[in-house]
C-alpha cells in the first residue's frame, strides 16, 4: 500500500533529515512511528501524503510511483487517506461540525447524506456539545479530537495520525486508540506517530523507529 525505497529528504540546503528510508505498510496493518523530537516523523508522514517530494529514492503509493502522478490521481489518492496533523490544522472560520464534514464536502456530497454520521462521530469523540463552536474557542484536547474526527470521517484506506494523543488525558487517549483499532478492523491501515510510551504499551504493534535519519522496525 505504501512502499519507500532508499528515500532521502533534505529541506532546501539543509542537512538530510531522512536518509535511505526503506519500509512498507501493508493494507489493514497497524503500526507506530516513533523517534526523538526532530527525528523526522512529521516529515515522513508528509512524504506519504505527497505534500513533499523526496530528494532521492522512490515512493510507491497504492501501487503507483508518485513521482509521475497527474493531479487528478493525486487528488484521488489523497481522498483514500485520512490525516491527523500534529498542529491540528482546523479551519478557524468553520465550526467543528463543518471542519469534520470537510472531506465529505469536498467530495461534493449533499449535506443531508452525511449529517447523521458526522454528528455520531463527534459525539463519540466527546464533542457532541461543542460542534457549533469554532476551533479558536476549543481547548487543546478538543481541537485534537476534532482533527481526529476529520481524519476518520471519510473511512480512509490509510490513516496517518501525527501525535494524536499529545493533548488529551490518558483516559481519552485510550478511547481514541480504541477508535483507531476499530477503524483498522474495518480495513484501514493505521500509522500513529507518537512519543507516548504508555500508549504504545497499551496495544502492542510494530514500531517504526526513526533515529539520526535512519529507520528501523521494532516488531
Amino acid at each position: 500500500m505504501v512502499r519507500f525505497e532508499n528515500v532521502g529528504l533534505r529541506y532546501g540546503m539543509g542537512p538530510e533529515v531522512l536518509k535511505d528510508i526503506n519500509f512498507s505498510i501493508a493494507p489493514r496493518s497497524f503500526q507506530y512511528l516513533t523517534g526523538p523530537s526532530g527525528a523526522g516523523k512529521t516529515t515522513l508522514i508528509r512524504l506519504i501524503l505527497m505534500a513533499l517530494k523526496p530528494t532521492r529514492g522512490l515512493v510507491n503509493l497504492f501501487g503507483q510511483d508518485v513521482s509521475r502522478l497527474d493531479p487528478a490521481t493525486l487528488t484521488a489518492f489523497r481522498r483514500r487517506m485520512g490525516v491527523v496533523f500534529q498542529d491540528f490544522r482546523l479551519l478557524d472560520h468553520l465550526t467543528v461540525y463543518e471542519n469534520v464534514a470537510l472531506p465529505l464536502r469536498v467530495l461534493g456530497k449533499e449535506e443531508a447524506s452525511y449529517r447523521a454520521e458526522v454528528v455520531e462521530l463527534l459525539r463519540w469523540v466527546g464533542l457532541g456539545e461543542r460542534m457549533h463552536a469554532v476551533p479558536t474557542v476549543l481547548s487543546g484536547g478538543e481541537k485534537q479530537r476534532a482533527a481526529i474526527a476529520r481524519a476518520l470521517i471519510g473511512r480512509p484506506e490509510l490513516l496517518l495520525a501525527d501525535e494524536p494523543t499529545g493533548n488529551v488525558d490518558p483516559n481519552l487517549g485510550r478511547r481514541l486508540l480504541r477508535l483507531f483499532m476499530e477503524l483498522q478492523q474495518l480495513g484501514t491501515a493505521v500509522v500513529i506517530a507518537t512519543h507516548d510510551l504508555a500508549l504504545m504499551e497499551l496495544y502492542d504493534a510494530p514500531r517504526l523507529v526513526l533515529a539520526d535519519g535512519h529507520l528501523h522496525v521494532d516488531a
Binding site: 493531479p71 487528488t75 490525516v83 463543518e98 447523521a116 466527546g126 460542534m131 471519510g154
Partner: protein, 320 residues
C-alpha cells in the same frame, strides 16, 4: 464539562434527533474578515471615482451632441453690405433661393436689430449700430443630413448674390468638438486608470488572502479538494466582495450625481452658472448616464471575478 459521553448516548442518537442548522452556508475561505472589508472599501471608492468620471464623460458627450446636432443642422448665409448694392434686396433674393432647395427646411432672415445685438458683446454696448453697415444673417435649418443639393446651392448663391456666403460652421464645430473630446477622453482615461487600479487592488488582495490562507489551502488539498474546487471557493468570495464594493461605489456615484444635478439646477440663477450650462447642458446625465454608472459597477465586479480567478489559479500552480 465536555468529557466524552458514554457509549449508551451514542446508541440513543437516533431518538435524540439531529441539531438543526448544522452547516451554515459558509464558503471554505473566510469571507467577512477585516481584510475583506478593506478590499470592499477600496473597490467602492475606486468604483465611485470611475463612475463619476464615466458620468462626466457621458454628460459632456450628451451636451456636445446637442451642440453638434444644433450646429450641424444649421447653416447661415452671411450677406455683406456693399455700398453699390441694396443689402435688403440681396437678403430677400438669398432667402428666396434657399427656400427652393430641397434639403433646407426652414429659412429665417435675422432682422437687423437682432444681428446687431449679436455683435454687441464684441463691439461694445454703447455703439450705435444703426449707422453701421453690419453684415446680415440668414439662418437655414436643414432637414436631416446635408444633401448634395447644398453644394449646388452654394455655387448658385455665389453667382447670383456675390456679397452672400454660405457658412456651415465648420470652424465652430471643430473648436467645440476638440473641447468636448478632450473632456470625454480625460473621463475615459480616468475610468480606465481607475479600473486598472481596481484590478491591481483585487489581484494584490487575492494574493494576500491566498498567502494568508496558505495553510487552509494546504489543508483543503490534503483532505482531497482539487484545484478547481479551491479556485471556485476563492473566486466566489472575491466576486462577492467585488459586487459589494462595486454596488456601494456605484450607488454613491448615482447619489452624488443626482445631488450635483439638483444643486446646479438651484444655482443656475447665478450668473456664473451660464458658462457651465453652456458647456454641460442642464447637468442631466439621463438614463444612459445611469446605465453607464451601473455598467462600471458591473465591470468592476467582473474584473474582481476574473482577476481573482487568474490569481488563484496562478498561485495554486505555484504551490504544487
Amino acid at each position: 464539562m465536555s468529557t466524552p459521553e458514554t457509549e449508551e448516548n451514542d446508541s440513543e442518537q437516533g431518538e435524540r434527533g439531529l441539531p438543526p442548522n448544522l452547516r451554515r452556508d459558509q464558503p471554505l475561505v473566510p469571507v467577512d474578515s477585516a481584510a475583506g472589508r478593506a478590499l470592499v472599501a477600496v473597490i467602492a471608492i475606486l468604483t465611485f471615482l470611475a463612475s463619476l468620471s464615466a458620468g462626466a464623460a457621458v454628460l459632456t458627450a450628451r451636451a456636445s451632441e446637442q451642440w453638434r446636432g444644433a450646429v450641424a443642422n444649421e447653416m447661415t448665409i452671411q450677406v455683406r453690405p456693399d455700398s453699390r448694392r441694396n443689402i435688403e434686396a440681396d437678403v430677400a433674393r438669398a432667402v428666396e433661393m434657399a427656400q427652393g432647395v430641397a434639403s433646407i427646411g426652414e429659412v429665417r432672415a435675422v432682422p437687423k436689430a437682432e444681428s446687431d445685438k449679436l455683435l454687441e458683446p464684441w463691439l461694445g454696448a454703447g455703439l450705435d449700430l444703426v449707422e453701421l453697415p453690419v453684415p446680415r444673417l440668414i439662418v437655414l435649418r436643414l432637414k436631416g443630413a446635408p444633401g448634395a443639393d447644398l453644394a449646388a446651392f452654394k455655387d448658385n448663391l455665389r453667382r447670383e448674390v456675390p456679397t452672400a456666403s454660405l457658412d456651415d460652421h465648420r470652424l465652430w464645430l471643430r473648436r467645440l468638438s476638440t473641447m468636448a473630446n478632450t473632456i470625454i477622453l480625460a473621463g475615459v482615461a480616468t475610468v480606465l486608470l481607475v479600473l486598472t487600479a481596481a484590478a491591481l487592488a483585487i489581484a494584490f488582495a487575492t494574493r494576500g488572502a491566498m498567502a494568508g490562507s496558505r495553510d487552509s489551502v494546504e489543508v483543503l488539498h490534503l483532505v482531497g479538494a482539487d484545484d478547481a474546487f479551491i479556485a471556485r471557493e476563492f473566486q466566489s468570495r472575491f466576486v462577492r466582495l467585488g459586487l459589494k464594493g462595486g454596488g456601494a461605489g456605484g450607488l454613491a456615484a448615482i447619489v452624488a450625481i443626482a445631488l450635483l444635478g439638483w444643486f446646479t439646477s438651484r444655482w443656475s440663477a447665478a450668473p456664473e452658472s451660464e458658462q457651465l450650462q453652456a458647456l454641460f447642458g442642464a447637468f442631466e446625465i439621463g438614463w444612459s448616464g445611469y446605465a453607464v454608472v451601473l455598467l462600471v459597477a458591473v465591470i468592476v465586479a467582473a474584473i474582481a471575478g476574473l482577476v481573482s480567478r487568474f490569481t488563484v489559479r496562478h498561485y495554486l500552480g505555484v504551490l504544487t
